[in-house]
Symmetry: C3
Amino acid sequence: MATTKYLRTATGFLMVLTEGDDLFAELSALAVAENLPSASLTGFGFAGSVTFGFFDFAKRDYDPGTFTDREMTGIVGTLAWKEGKPSLHAHGVGGGKDFSVVGGHLLALTVGKGSLEITLTVHQQRLERKEEASIGANILRLAAS
Amino acid sequence: MATTKYLRTATGFLMVLTEGDDLFAELSALAVAENLPSASLTGFGFAGSVTFGFFDFAKRDYDPGTFTDREMTGIVGTLAWKEGKPSLHAHGVGGGKDFSVVGGHLLALTVGKGSLEITLTVHQQRLERKEEASIGANILRLAAS
Amino acid sequence: MATTKYLRTATGFLMVLTEGDDLFAELSALAVAENLPSASLTGFGFAGSVTFGFFDFAKRDYDPGTFTDREMTGIVGTLAWKEGKPSLHAHGVGGGKDFSVVGGHLLALTVGKGSLEITLTVHQQRLERKEEASIGANILRLAAS
């Protein structure tokens, strides 16, 4: 398996992950290594395991659900920073053997047999997520506040 | 909540909407304010209410369906012009509390608790949608006709 | 119907397909005509017929499923080369009349009444897909190997 997991492109990066790779860890590693200010991303590929969450505003936390062997048919997200660390916010949908689809906020994803391809469009502004106290959820901030 | 709803990036704009914002109104406002020639977009986030439509070619109109509290797991669209006004064409899918997913042509979307993040890639050509008389649906035109 | 199916943009191409167009054939034609090194893409629109596949690693082939009249709510993919020919890898989801959604790896798609809009972000590196012998699936290579 290639050791190069991503390539710099004219507009950002193209990342190809393979079996066993952790999407959140790999994107965080790229953000740190490349000192990425912020980015938008799309992705697709095969997840050996994917955990979605649905936010419970009463608990101020996500109720998780884990699914195995899913063709991720669309991941959309942004990569920014929170308290000095990379902060990925992404949602996704995944189809199963019968082509039925589940999806939601991505909490975790490990690549399965095959690959996961992610395209990042880099923005030059360093952006931060901050918790919105009134709802307990993180919000991407476009301006210093 | 910040009053700045979008940021100019190297390739277009990054927009962050919050509770109560109307996706169609906000993208139209951006198109007018920035004199946007045309753009492609992706988005994700939380919809308090989202209305999908499925086109009925006999009626030449969309049959609507409205859903509440959906994690929008992928919005894909283009922003152009029709008869002098901004014209958004977008499709989307949204996951529910049980991670089941619904989707279709977007007719309306109001952001729920949390946020909706939209990434626009701007094109320099001013593009128009025109109704295709034979089917009653709007088609994006790439050339003057 | 316009004969121009795509437009060069600042970051790549915008393609608009109409009824009867074959997504795979049209993207391959663009790759050849424009000598496209590689590209990432997103798309949405109406499919008259779409065939998804779910990879069976025992058979080393996809089990197919075909659906008609689907609002494609999100196509995400990459366009590269394999053995001198354009190689499209894309996944997608499609909503039906009742807004239920199916999806998976795209094996074929013919545009239905209406249109299908595809946005390509071009990368300057010529990229190749190669079969990963251990799993029988094609993997996008980021470096010569």
